[in-house]
Structures are given as C-alpha cells and as structure tokens.
Assembly symmetry: C2
Homo-oligomer: 283 residues x 2
Amino acid sequence: MLNLRSSSASFGGTTEFYSHNSNCCNSEMNFSVYIPPQAKTQPVPVLYFLSGLTCTDENFMAKAGAQRIAADLGIMLVAPDTSPRGNGIPDEPDQWDFGIGASFYVDALLEPWRSHYQMYTYITHELPQLIADSFPVLKSDKGEPIQSICGHSMGGHGALVCALRSPNQYRSVSSFAPIGSPSQCAWGEKAFSGYLGDDRNLWSNYDATELVRHTTHPNPILIDQGMKDRFLDTQLKPAFFEAACQASGQQLVLRRQLNYDHSYYFIASFIEDHLNHHHRFLG
Amino acid sequence: MLNLRSSSASFGGTTEFYSHNSNCCNSEMNFSVYIPPQAKTQPVPVLYFLSGLTCTDENFMAKAGAQRIAADLGIMLVAPDTSPRGNGIPDEPDQWDFGIGASFYVDALLEPWRSHYQMYTYITHELPQLIADSFPVLKSDKGEPIQSICGHSMGGHGALVCALRSPNQYRSVSSFAPIGSPSQCAWGEKAFSGYLGDDRNLWSNYDATELVRHTTHPNPILIDQGMKDRFLDTQLKPAFFEAACQASGQQLVLRRQLNYDHSYYFIASFIEDHLNHHHRFLG
C-alpha cells in the first residue's frame, strides 16, 4: 500500500517519504515521516505538521530542524502534502493560493474540487489510520493513536481547526503564523468560496476563530507569530483568534516574536519550544 | 557594494543573502551569511561552508540547521555560491557536474572558464576580505580574520584544499563526505580536465590527497562519511585521503557513519559536532 520514495538516516532515526493511494481523495497522496530512534524498540506518539501554501511534504522535514528534537523526545513526525497532485487532479495554473498546494485542509463541496480535495477527512481520519497501521504508533487504552498537531500559516490554521473540532483526537495543538480567520482575509475568502461555495454559514466549520467561540480544546494552544511577517496585517490577523479565545475561555499562549518573518528560518528558531509543548501532553 | 537580497531573523541573529560584483570572477556573485546575536556587541570568528555540486548559497542555510549552534557558540557562518552564474557566464547546459553549480573551487586555466571561474582566489582572498570589511569579524593581532572552513562533497574537498594550501589562514577544517581525490574519480577528472587542462601535474595543486602528502594542517581534520552514501565507492573514496594523511602524519578523525547517505539529513545530524570542533580552534 505504501510506496517508499526515499529514506535518509537522520539523528539516529530515519526521515522517509511515501506515496499511497488515498481512498477519500481518490488520488495518490504524498507524506513524509520522521521515525525517531526510540521507535525501534517501542511505540511512540505522533506529531502531525500541516504545511503552508505552495509547500509539499518536503519543506518541513528539510528545513525546520525538528528531527533533532523529535529524536531526543521520542516523537514521530508526520508531514502530509498540502493537497492532492498529479494526473487528473484539478489545479488552478498560475494560482499559488488556490488548487494544488493550497487545499486549506477542507473537504471541498464544489466540483471539480470535491472529487479529490477531501483533505479534512484525509488529515483527521484516513492518514492517522494509515500511520497507526504502518508504523509503531503509541495507542491509548481505547486503541486510539496518541497524537498532536501543529502547522504553519494555512497549515497552522488547519491544525487549529482539526484540534478544535476533535479535541479528543489531538492531545495538543500549536501553530506558527496561522491564518487567524480565513473568513476574514483574502486568501481564505478565495479558497472557501472556491471549495465550499458562497454560503458563509458553511465556512464556519473550517474557521478557527468561528469554531473557538463554541468549542474549546482542554489544553493551552501555543502560537508563535513573527512581527515582521509580511502577511501579518493582510492575511494572518492573529487578533481575531486571540479575541475569540479570550471570549470563550480557550487557553492561548500567543507569542509575538519581534523581527521574525514568515519563513522556515522563523519556524526553525522556535520549533524546539513547540515540540517540548507537545511532549508535555503526549506523555 | 553589497546588495542585500533577503534578511530573516534566525535564532536571535539574522540569516542574510547578498550579491556583489566580484573582481576576480568578473561577475556578480552570491553568498549567504548567518550573523549570530553576539555580533551585535563584539566581533566574532567566521566559519566558511563550501557546498556541493548543484547547490547555491541557500542549501546550507536552509537545511543544515547550523544557525542554532552558531548562535550558541558565537560563530558567523558564510556560505558562498558554488560558481559564478548569470548573464554571460559560461555554462554546460544539462551537465550538473560541470560549469554552473560545479566550480570545484579552482582557478580555471582554460577558456571560456578562466574569465570567470577564479573560485579559489574568490574563496580564499576576495570573499574573506569582503566579509571582514563588511561584518564584525574577529581579527588576530596581525589584523587577519579568525576563520575556519568546512564543506560538503565537492565543497568538502574544496575546504580541505583551502586549509592545506593556507594552514595559517584557516584555524581548522572539517568536511562532510568530501571527494577524497578528484584526480582519481570521474567527477574530478571531468572537471579538472575542463578547467585546468590535461596536464595532471597542474591538478595536484587542487587535489587534497596529493597536497597532504607534502603539506599538513597543524590541527586535526574532522571528516564524517555516511556508509550508505551512493557516491562513496565511485566518487568519494575516502581511503585515498585517509592513507595519504597517515603517510604524512596529518591528524585525521574520519568517522564512518553507518546508515547515513549523502543528503542534508546527514549533514544536519552531525553539524553540531563540526561547529563544536571549529569552536575549539576559533577560540
């Protein structure tokens, strides 16, 4: 079922890249996984990382420097691709913020996207099941995988949505420079219109700021946001999510990092704090 | 003189990308630099990193994870591009192992390369002078920059050549998966024939295994070599350099790393050891 594309030894473990046929996306899908050295002898918890616009399953593994810390803490890392891609998959050529590389991690309602862009189901159900069946994943007494979720930008927002909608499925959630409320920025309005249609009531299922008004996660959310991020005021707007958390009582640690931008140099600088945060709750 | 292309905050310092007009290469050249936080208040020593075939000045900064350690130790990192490139620069299209991205860090003797590919002079003289003039570089009592050199593959070999030819100029040298003796592998024979001509006597000026027979570096050389490196037996052949070091009394720590390949996942896994090695000698 899993097609191993490459495997590289990495801090005593291995960084591996796979493709597989996804049922829900009706497509081949790519993901990467870091298997820490501890997994040779015991099951380990998993941290999912959802990447941002234009990324593939490679960026996080190549640039974030997370393997060193995951090897130390005994955490498996899984970085799915940001959309289906390949033969027959619809795309919007010349648009980097919609279509391939820009799924926004929703289950699309409109064709031509609906047939393949079932990314919310893929991220929260199909992929965790596949990972749990294929790798030595630590499970709860109920047989559920012990996992948390993190992400960057579009994926940082996606991680918030996954954790808020399924707080029992994710022990903890953190995010780098997430889109605060896709319903209230150009990136999100374009994507949600295209994937979900014009009924904004349907958008709220995939908007973290809307979700957190009604449902909270039991553990504190950690967010790092660079203050020289060129998307800060136009797209990310963390104050929306921050205010909604305050109103609903969601614990949030939002760190505004002076001088940092939107790049992986920012992520690499703080990934250790995020892995340590998740380690507290992954046990 | 320096054209700042980008600057990203990174572990309390900044990762910056520059272009400038090189006199010796008669061309625009690119390099990246990591300025550690200590440099805000005091001059710091410099570690040069020479990259491998096909790389630019970005790979090392984006993928090696070196900034975290450099920020801790107070070392500036400089990663030059692997060749001139741009308008009017000769290339060998469709050849990834010769021409652009494949300078082998030699001063070319043959046209069309000679007019631009003066990379040995660029790496050992023009660039260090520019760096020392432009950034807060720690200098010796004689006014010379305190610096060491490291590299990967083609660049790992280039680092050995620089340090062996100018042991007073580099406090220490280390290397990841270097070409052991370019005169004795297909990559090197192709490049040296093209840049230097058919007289193999001229090649020995740029062959680390030939150089170390006659000249040594006062400090131990650190080399890491992955044992699943797909170029190990055909191109890298570390035993040539190892034997020559033994014969001449050059101190060498050659670590054969089981399971590791030729990628940046290998470099990232051991870069901390290399920076600590250089830190011993950079003082």
